[in-house]
């Protein structure tokens, strides 16, 4: 297995913490017909970082950059998670036992199963640990 097949390019956008900024980002993606598969906002004093999984990350990056946003790509992985009590525990336990640190994470509940998006300190080790522990890491081609 090649870890590259599992690494998803998340876009991260710097945003001031004030009304209208998320709308500006979302509007730009709409105009380019870019679909947002999952997203989250992390906030600190006065600013935040909008993180999104989109179907066309390169296009999103270019469009937002042209508009003057600070945009960066960040490598994340998506893990299939049972949509039932204990689903999150299963994944988190594997990561903990593998001594893999989760920097941040967000999730969504899809049609078939729930999906956990993970930003970890060691992507390759995380993929290997999840597969070894019987989990499913979703291929990036499913998203992008």
């Amino acid at each position: 297995m090649d870890p590259k097949n599992y690494i998803i390019k998340q876009i991260s956008v710097f945003s001031e913490n004030k009304p209208g900024r998320l709308a500006a980002i979302a509007r730009a993606l709409q105009v380019e017909k870019i679909n947002i598969l999952a997203f989250s906002i992390a906030e600190a004093n006065g600013f935040g970082v909008v993180r999104a999984l989109v179907d066309k990350p390169q296009k999103a990056f270019e469009k937002l950059s042209i508009l003057g946003f600070n945009v960066a790509f960040t490598d994340v992985i998506a893990v299939k998670m049972k949509d039932e009590p204990g689903g999150l525990y299963e994944i988190a336990r594997i990561m903990g036992e593998g001594m893999i640190n989760i920097e941040y994470s967000y999730a969504y509940s899809g049609k078939d199963a729930a999906v956990l998006i993970l930003r970890v300190d060691n992507v390759d080790a995380a993929i290997a640990a999840i597969r070894k522990g019987g989990g499913t890491v979703l291929e990036s081609s499913l998203f992008q």
Partner: protein
């Protein structure tokens, strides 16, 4: 006691003017001979000490400005050798370099004497407890008031600035009768006291405040006096003049500028013409007796007016009204001078942020609050909040070091701050003073 030094303070005006002329003449000869800096300035202006034949001839002399001290950092324009210096004070300059002021023994004596006269003139004396809540250390406020009050036999309580609850406890326990601090800090003390269930008016012996180091208005004076039940006196000075120097007398009609120590002119900032009593203009001060760092025709940048009439208190020295504004963009934040150029200079040394910035000043409660907005550069942007927080903390830390005053920093999106063509307006000051 009515006057600390009645012979000087009540000196007839003619005598005072003769004395000023004599001191000016001596000063100019001394600088022409011993100060390469001022010698060159006079040569450029084609003035020779012999051209000073009356006190009015002072207007032939070249000006000094704050940047002269910066450009000659740290001590290139001192006229005293190391052996004669007994102290340094350091204040923030207009850009990266601070301003260093050196003092000879006589400089400290004259500074102390000036304050001794001023403090007596507003009714302080033996038996009073003066709480000095100006900062002690490199800033001149704390030590200046400290020695002035000790000289006249008042008891000094050197609390310095901060730790407000303790200040209030000590004020009660040691029966403070007078406090020296910025007017906004005194309002803050009043607010904190109320939260502690202490009324400054009813539960303390405080009867007067000696307030300065920042601009304040009649409205603020009225508020302090009515709310706290004390008299509020204005005190004026800058580090270049030695420190806090001149204080209002009990008439509360402006601070007396002791003519044997300083000569004050009010000029039209545009034409440089000397203005008469009552006319608003830029104050220019010549320190007539300073030894280590002489200041001639120093353009401090403060706008005010003066009153030449002999005061009803009996003192013959001219009075200057409370400062009403600035000719430049200098801000005073919690008593500390801040120039936008210092911020610009500091930001240039931090690669993660851009050079554009905006300063927003508010008064939160009674205290000044300064927010600096800076843009994060594209290359520095990271998905990690901790990295961004580290950038923000670093900018705050660097600005605090450069300005000597706490600053809040907000990171904003690149390109979002206003760009200026011509004169930049980077300050939004929402304080009502």
């Amino acid at each position: 006691m009515k006057c600390w030094d009645p012979r000087v303070e009540e000196m007839p005006r003619d005598e005072l003017r003769t004395m000023q002329y004599r001191l000016l003449k001596t000063l100019v000869y001394r600088l022409y001979s011993f100060s390469p800096f001022y010698h060159d300035r006079m040569r450029e202006e084609k003035v020779h000490p012999d051209d000073i034949r009356t006190l009015e001839d002072i207007r032939k002399l070249p000006f000094m400005v704050k940047s002269d001290l910066r450009d000659n950092y740290p001590d290139k324009i001192f006229v005293a050798g190391q052996d004669d210096l007994v102290r340094y004070h350091v204040s923030s300059g207009t850009t990266g370099k601070p301003t260093v002021v050196g003092y000879t023994r006589n400089d400290l004596d004259n500074w102390t004497a000036s304050l001794a006269r001023g403090l007596v003139s507003c009714g302080l004396g033996r038996g009073d407890v003066l709480q000095v809540s100006y900062g002690y250390g490199l800033f001149t406020g704390g030590l200046g008031l400290h020695y002035g009050a000790e000289r006249i036999g008042a008891t000094v309580l050197p609390t310095s600035v901060g730790n407000t609850e303790r200040q209030i406890e000590l004020m009660q326990d040691l029966h403070t009768t007078a406090i020296a601090c910025t007017p906004s800090y005194l309002l803050h003390i009043g607010e904190v006291a109320e939260k502690m269930g202490v009324s400054i008016r009813d539960d303390t012996s405080l009867r007067m405040g000696i307030l300065g180091a920042e601009p304040w208005s009649d409205t603020m004076k009225g508020r302090i006096e009515n709310w706290l039940g004390i008299k509020a006196y204005d005190i004026y000075g800058t580090s270049e003049l030695s420190g806090p120097m001149f204080c209002e007398c009990t008439e509360q009609a402006g601070f007396h500028v002791w003519g044997d120590l300083a000569y004050v002119e009010i000029l039209d900032p545009k034409t440089g013409e000397q203005l008469g009593p009552g006319e608003q203009g830029e104050m220019v001060i010549t320190m007539l007796q300073k030894e280590a760092l002489p200041m001639i025709r120093f353009r401090i940048g403060d706008i005010t007016s003066f009153d030449d009439a002999v005061c009803t208190c009996g003192r013959s020295h001219p009075r200057v009204r409370r400062i009403s504004g600035r000719v430049d963009d200098m801000l005073i934040i919690r008593g500390i001078n801040v120039f936008p150029s210092q911020i610009e200079y500091t930001l240039l040394t931090i690669p993660e942020v851009g050079q554009h910035f905006m300063i927003e000043v508010d008064r939160k409660g009674a205290l000044d609050d300064m927010l600096v907005k800076v843009e994060v550069k594209k290359e520095a942007f990271s998905d990690k909040i901790t990295d961004l927080m580290a950038i923000r903390n670093n900018v705050e830390h660097r600005l605090r070091n450069a300005l000597n005053v706490a600053v809040n920093v907000e990171l904003v999106e690149p390109g979002s701050l206003p760009r200026f063509e011509g004169k930049a307006k980077r300050v939004i000051d929402r304080r009502k003073i």
